[in-house]
Every structure is written in structure tokens, then in C-alpha cells.
Symmetry: C2
Subunit: 336 residues, 2 copies
DNA sequence: TTGAAAGCGCTAACAA
DNA sequence: TTGTTAGCGCTTTCAA
């Protein structure tokens, strides 16, 4: 059997209270008792039970992470950041892929509560904001990551999508593009909407009119992007550039361009968003708006942990600036 | 405060034992009592504490998943499969990215034990097999996934790497290639070694001599593959085809080919291994040996769960056959 | 500086 | 069919 606190106590000839104290570095314990106990713990390969300790009102040192899909590169990179920073602080993370379905979100949240996780990081789309409000009501630490629910008082870490859209547009406009297509996620996806809004606003600010039929929205997958890009590229007035609201869609655009024999970037420029591994590996590598995923994950974990320590903290919302990574998918418009 | 079993019992005017019984569907409980209690649980939004129940000798319904890196597409796809199947069976999974460092492996394993996970799926490289043996000694359910330690009696799910290598070679040879380069992971990585062994054996079987300097080994990253491919492509006798032992390396080969102006597949054929999203998205899409990741994840979870149910089960080792997915990165050798 | 004892929320004999 | 009770391994007063 595994050694328990009783085994240690007996072996050391002290009470379990004493062992508990040296374990947690609490109370006053003589140096020698402490040393002796440590030695015994070592010898017996004692592993304190997080379960038992959690039952006694302490923490489980476990976080829940809700994401749409761990196999989506953007989220797996975020997950890695969260895991790493969590691990440094002593937390492990349970992954929950929701496919953006409220029903799965609810199932997972219920499960996480039964497991008494110390906090939940939500990086998945949720239609029904009550789900989050209920969590808040139970004062379970929550942070929204790469998601936004402005009306709910909840800690949030996001990238400035609007600015990202602006930067994308400026870049393309600076390269001489005037007729530009946009491929984004469905209207209900706020981040995508904001990116588009920033993009369009910037075009307007430059006195360029945006043609409504140059805007396509769809799901977030590669094939969706390809399909919509094909529509754009096969229309009467094809754009000289396309802004895709994430890397997956951009890869789809790349495939579409190839399918219709358009060279990127010479005949078609593409700006993407996210800067996942895909944008590096694409051919050509994609100019993209980098989300500081590592930093975002770290911040999210910190917010949870801080809330755990100083209970009733003021809610905060941190907005990070995306950075334009210029790679090889954008070029001056060809004058031919 | 959250409702406990006591609250339910009090509200229902019964003992906690009765509530516990209806909760677990054990013992004989009258239909009406049961219904009444269920109603109250519903009304009070009762969530039984997994923690408390785990402390009483039951399971935590949590699995640990050790992988090198959750942000590596191969492992994130595996992770998704495990999560999905686990969820169906009532288990959640804690992710542990180890970077293939034994030290991190040990830290994580210790943590997982403190959290009393019901089982551990190991899909990460481990140099010191004692680490696994210690787990086994404590009779913690373990399964090795996409890893092999033939000398250790442990449940295992792998793909037949040797056969995969054979299939890759046959395909290329069938297309007329004779001078073929191989880029694999470092010698200590067993799966890669086996793939290479199968590949070379098949070449020999066809009476083709393999030149030692056509074999390059390195780390598993894209840039490593690119570097090694460049070496091959810039040597005196450049190969007409390259077998890369995983998708990341193959993407590197693709980049190298582009760098030296070789067209794929016409001037250079590439066979890859894994069939992650990368092989679909690459340009051109890669011919690759598909690992049935979903199936592998599912099997691994099942093995753990079965071991949990019927304690002292016979260890088993399941070998899955990889399947050649022919895409656009391979072609008949050009006769020019 | 140390220990006794109560309790965290639940399960599982054993009794009734 | 239901209830009593003794833990599970730990933390935390409160006493000693």
C-alpha cells in the first residue's frame, strides 16, 4: 500500500498533525523533527494525497480548459502555453474539447465542478452567456481566453481583433491593393466580426469602397476557406488580395489559388490571422497577424491563480495587441 | 454553499446511506424513495463530489496523458481521440507535455499519482524504462501508445512501423525510384528506427543497394528535416525520392525541395509518415503512411478501463497496420 | 513545539 | 428497504 500520513507519523513517533505541519510548512516545528520527518517521507516515498487534502477544503490544483478542439493548432498551442505555465505554478490541466457546442460545454462544466477544479479557462465559443454567469455566481474562478462577453463581469484575455483587422488592411492597402476579399467566420463569432469591422473601417478611411459581395463567411475549417475563396476567385471582378480571418481559412485560400492557377503572392496576396504553425509551414509562408499565444495562456493562468489567492478581486480585461508578421504571401500589386 | 449528500438526505428525510445508494444505483431502494430523492437532487442542483467519493476508495475518473508536446499535430490529434473516447466512458484527461525529457516525465508521473488518476497513457519517449516499471509495480494501469518497450510487460498500442517502412519503400520502388534518401529521427527513437529498417529491408529485397550516406537522422522538427533534406539534395548523387519518417520532417523536405528549385513530385517524390493534418495541408499534399490515430486513442482508453475493471488482466500488445495514403507528393520517376 | 480530535463528503459493511 | 457507523487521508482549531 501507499504510505499515508499515518505511516509517516508512526515511523517518526509523532502525531499526524505534526507531519501535516511540516508538509505544509506551517506552525512551529523544531528543525530536527522537521528534518527527521522529511527523511522518512523520502524513504517511504511518501506522496501526499491531493484528494484528501482537497476534501479538507484545500485546492485540487487542477484547472479546466475549455476549447473547441485540441487538435486545432491554434488551440493546441494555447493549451501548451497554459499547461506549461500552470505546471510551473503547481496546477495541472484537464482538457475539454467542446466543438463549440453549448451542450458539451455544459456537460464538461458540470464534470469539472464535480471534480472541484480550482478554476476554468474558457477559450471556446458559448452561445448562452448564462452558462458563464452561473459559474460566476458560484464564485468559481473563470477567465475567458480569446473570447469576449463584454456584458458579463468576467476576467478576460483577448487580442485586439479590431486593430488586427486594421493592420491587415493597412498592410494590403500599402501594397497597392484596392479590390480585396474577406473570408471570415460566421457572423456570430465575435472575434471574426471585429477583425472584419477593423478591416472595412480602414478601407473606408482610405476612401476605398468595399463591395459587399467580396465578404464571405463560413465555418472555420480549411475546406470552408477554400470553397469561399474559390467563389471569390471565380467571380467577375476577382480581388487582388484576400484577408482570411484565421490560418486554417488562409490555407484554404492558398489551396483555392492553386486550384485556379493563381500565383501567391504575385497574382494574389493573402493576409491571415493567428500565426499558428500552419502559417509558417504553408507554401508560401503566410503573412499573418500574430496572436501572442504563449503570453495569452500565461496571463489566463495568472488571472485564475490571483483570483484564487485574493478572493474578491476586481475583474479585469486584458487586451493584447496582435502583431503583423510579414512573410511571403503578400506583395505589391502587380501592375500588369 | 454547494449541496452535499447530507442536504439531500435531510431534505428527503432519509439517511445519507439511502441517498448514496440511489446515487450509485446500488442496494434495494423503493421506487418512490428513489424518485423523490432524484427530484430533490435535481432541485438543489446537487453535484456529487468526485473528490469525496475517490477518497472512499473509488475511482477519480481521471486519466493522465503523457505526450511530448500537445502542440505537435500528431499528438494533439491523438489527444483528441483519447479525450473523446474517455469522455464517453466518464473519464477526463489531464494533459502532460514532457518534451521527451525523463525529468519532466517523472515530475508529471509523481503529480498524477498524488492526484490518484485511474490510469496513465504514455505516448512520450522515455529513456529509463524503470520509470514505467515502477508504475507497473504499484499496479497503476498503464498503456504505452505509439511507443514500445518490448521488454516490459505493459499494455501497448502501436502501429507496425516496420511494415510502414516496407510499404513506403514498395510504393517508391514501384514508381521506379532507385536512389532514395531517408530522413528519420535519432537512432534512439525506436519507431523511426523500425520504419527505416523496414524501408531498407524492402530495398534489399528488390536488389537495390542502399547507400549509407543517403540516411540522415535528426530531431523531429520541420527545420531539422529541411536541413537534412538540403544535405541530400545538394550532394553529388541526389536521390529521386525521400522517405521522411514523420509529417513534420516531410514538410521540411518540401521546403528544402522548394529552396533548391526541385519540383515535387516530378523531380522529387516524398513519402511521409503519420497522416496528420499537415500532410493534407502541405503543398502538394503528401503521400503518407496513415496511423489510425483515432482508433489508437480509443484502444488505449479501452485498455486502461478494462484493466481497471478486471484487475489482474493479461498484458496485451496491439499492433495496428499503417495504411498508405497516396496523395500528390509521389510520382513515377522522370526518365529525362 | 506538539498532539487530540473534529470534520471534509462520501462508501460500504452491518444492523435493524 | 432503510439507517448507523466506521473509515478514506488530510487540515485545522484548540489544548497541552
Amino acid at each position: 500500500m501507499k504510505a499515508t500520513i499515518y505511516d509517516i507519523a508512526k515511523e517518526a513517533g509523532v502525531s499526524i498533525a505534526t507531519v501535516s505541519k511540516v508538509l505544509n510548512g506551517k506552525g512551529k516545528i523544531s528543525a530536527e523533527t522537521s528534518k527527521a520527518i522529511h527523511a522518512i517521507m523520502e524513504r517511504l516515498d511518501y506522496q501526499p494525497s491531493v484528494i484528501a487534502s482537497a476534501l479538507t477544503g484545500k485546492k485540487t490544483y487542477t484547472l479546466g480548459l475549455l476549447i473547441p478542439d485540441i487538435s486545432n493548432p491554434f488551440f493546441s498551442e494555447i493549451a501548451r502555453a497554459i499547461e506549461d505555465h500552470g505546471e510551473q505554478l503547481g496546477y495541472s490541466v484537464i482538457m475539454c474539447s467542446t466543438d463549440n457546442k453549448d451542450e458539451k460545454v455544459e456537460r464538461y462544466i458540470s464534470l469539472l465542478q464535480q471534480k472541484k477544479v480550482d478554476g476554468i479557462i474558457i477559450a471556446t465559443g458559448i452561445d448562452n452567456k448564462e452558462i458563464v454567469e452561473q459559474l460566476l455566481a458560484k464564485s468559481i474562478p473563470v477567465v475567458l481566453l480569446a473570447r469576449d462577453m463584454p456584458l458579463v463581469a468576467v476576467n478576460t484575455v483577448v487580442v485586439d481583433d479590431y486593430v488586427g483587422g486594421c493592420l491587415a488592411a493597412s498592410h494590403l492597402i500599402g501594397l497597392g491593393h484596392r479590390r480585396i476579399g474577406i473570408i471570415g467566420e460566421k457572423e456570430k463569432v465575435r472575434s471574426s466580426r471585429e477583425r472584419i469591422r477593423g478591416f472595412r473601417q480602414t478601407m473606408e478611411d482610405h476612401g476605398i469602397t468595399f463591395h459587399e459581395n467580396c465578404l464571405k463567411t463560413c465555418d472555420y475549417k480549411v475546406e470552408d476557406g477554400k470553397k469561399k475563396a474559390l467563389e471569390l476567385l471565380q467571380s467577375d471582378e476577382t480581388p487582388s488580395a484576400i484577408f482570411a480571418c484565421n490560418d486554417m481559412l488562409a490555407v484554404g485560400v492558398l489551396q483555392a489559388a492553386k486550384a485556379v492557377g493563381k500565383k501567391v503572392p504575385n497574382e494574389l496576396s493573402i493576409v491571415s490571422f493567428d500565426n499558428t504553425i500552419l502559417s509558417e509551414l504553408a507554401d508560401p509562408p503566410l503573412t499573418t497577424l500574430a496572436q501572442p499565444m504563449e503570453h495569452m495562456g500565461k496571463l489566463a493562468v495568472n488571472m485564475i491563480v490571483e483570483e484564487l489567492q485574493s478572493s474578491n478581486q476586481v475583474k479585469q480585461r486584458t487586451v493584447l495587441r496582435p502583431e503583423l508578421m510579414i512573410r511571403d504571401s503578400t506583395a505589391l500589386i502587380s501592375t500588369s
